[in-house]
């Protein structure tokens, strides 16, 4: 089958588009139509699919309706790979430890130790969840010392604001919103984990359409360069797309490291993530992280 389909030219590539929490490169790529321009030359149509959930992105990849997962959570990538999806990490999208936080409303809750016996809400099996468990571990507490309840970030904030929870796991623009409504940050990911978001595609793509993958990464780099050269224009575009104010964009922008290169540190972060998943019974069999990596940034 390889031979036959190699001849078959791709007419369309589908790329996931996730603008939140603050995915500046994606926003630039879309607003400036960088992908369209690049792929037009090769006669390929570009389709953006706004899929925000990692699991849905991997499902879409499996079904063949999505070629590139731009901004896929490290956890999702590992889980999908472990469950048999042919997925390859071709670059790092972002690292933003500071964008991931634990927040409380009650000012009596100041540090992690105060969490004992408290009700904590947030999305299970995500970076935020990992952050909570790492933070607890560092403070010498275990999962059983707190009451953790699974819910989305948005619902979690509502629960926090309505005093149905003591602490919420919050990421992205919701952080500033939450601060404005009187909550405070207990801890961020800084020093605990990197919150690695990756760029992924399938092994088949790399094998059969290396040029397309290369073009893709070129565009991504192009967008990073644009951000560097036109900071003000960048803030403006992001603010416009997300409805967040320019000031907030600026302050949040500082949290992000968009360097696409896959470093040794990144790999060890992903390994840490896998260990977390296994430890908490969310993943059964271990995979070799290195086998997932296909660095296309060079």
């Amino acid at each position: 089958t390889n031979k036959a389909s190699e001849i078959e030219a791709k007419e369309k590539v589908s790329i996931s588009y996730v603008k939140l929490p603050l995915n500046v490169p994606s926003i630039i790529e879309k607003k400036e139509q960088l992908f369209e321009k690049a792929f037009e030359k090769e006669g390929i149509e570009v389709v953006f699919s706004e899929i925000t959930e990692g699991s849905k992105m991997t499902e879409a990849m499996a079904s063949g309706s999505l070629e590139f997962s731009n901004a896929l959570g490290g956890t999702s990538a590992i889980l999908a790979a472990a469950n048999g999806l042919d997925v390859k990490i071709i670059g790092i999208y972002s690292r933003a430890p500071e964008a991931f936080t634990l927040m409380a409303k009650d000012s009596a809750i100041k540090e992690i130790k105060d969490l004992k016996g408290k009700k904590i809400v947030g999305p299970k099996g995500t970076i935020l969840h990992q952050l909570l468990l790492s933070a607890l571990a560092e403070a010498g507490l275990s999962v059983d010392d707190v009451e953790f309840i699974n819910m989305s970030i948005g619902d979690g904030l509502v629960a926090l604001s309505s005093d149905n929870a003591d602490v919420a796991l919050v990421a992205g623009p919701a952080v500033t919103k939450s601060i404005q409504s009187g909550n405070h940050v207990l801890i961020t990911g800084k020093g605990l984990l990197d919150a690695t978001i990756v760029i992924a595609t399938s092994g088949k793509m790399i094998e059969q359409y290396p040029e397309i993958v290369k073009t893709y990464m070129d565009v991504h780099n192009e967008s990073l360069a644009y951000m560097k050269n036109n900071p003000d224009k960048t803030y403006e575009l992001v603010a416009e797309e997300t409805g967040i104010s320019v000031e907030e964009v600026k302050s949040m922008y500082a949290w992000y490291d968009f360097n696409p290169e896959i470093t040794v540190h990144d790999i060890s972060e992903l390994k840490k993530t896998q260990a977390f998943l296994i430890e908490n019974g969310m993943l059964e069999k271990e995979i070799e992280i290195e086998s997932l990596i296909a660095d296309m940034t060079h």
Partner: protein, 261 residues
Amino acid sequence: MKNYRGVVLPLLLILIWGIGSQYGLFNSFIVPSPLRVLSTGWNLIAKGILLKHLSVSLWRVFAGFAIAFFLAFPLAVMVGLSKKIHAYLVPSLEFIRHIPPIAMIPLLILWFGIGETSKLSVIVLATFFPIFMNTFSGIVNSNVDLEEVGVNFGFTRAEIFLKITLPQAMPSVFTGIQLGLGYSWRALMGAELIAASSGLGYMIIEAETLSRIDIIFVGVMVIGILGYAIDWFFFKIAAYFFRWEGKSNGRDTTPQFIKNI
């Protein structure tokens, strides 16, 4: 004339909401004030955002509903008229009837990709059964005595169905359509969970991640009012085509299901 009655309850609620907000009785993070919601709504309208989302969702609701109807209605007729088809199909349908469409999303993505088709299929799954079951119930509960009149005059099965069974089933069919339309709207959220970049459901989902509860309020209001309005129009049109005349005996012969809208 008596239409004022319908707005008493909503006005009362809005009043409580307004006063509560004014005196800070509600957490303003979760319950924005009516004025705030109004201004957000106005903003969304002015920027054309609301209209964009609305038109996309409207299209999805109509397309999804139409597909569901044109699947459910004929199927219900077949199942209602033939015990054999009933025996073959209904157990499988009963199985599907209980499954949450949201749980099917991975499969829908597999089958239909992440385009419109899979979104429409979520709406179809939510809309199919009220139409199917109510049509079926209307058909099997129709009066045999009247159907015998058709047999008596040598009607074909199709003629009996069209001229005698269906008119009797209409109240039930209409209830199914009404329920179905409602569920089409409700399924928007589930549908637009799949890779949407516009639509009222998407707007609400996005607002939730951005903690913009005022936008959620706007979305909910728009869906509620629009749904209500479409339902109303639909039944005005239906009433026009199905009006039975003559009222007396203290008995009004306009079908009750039309009279009561």
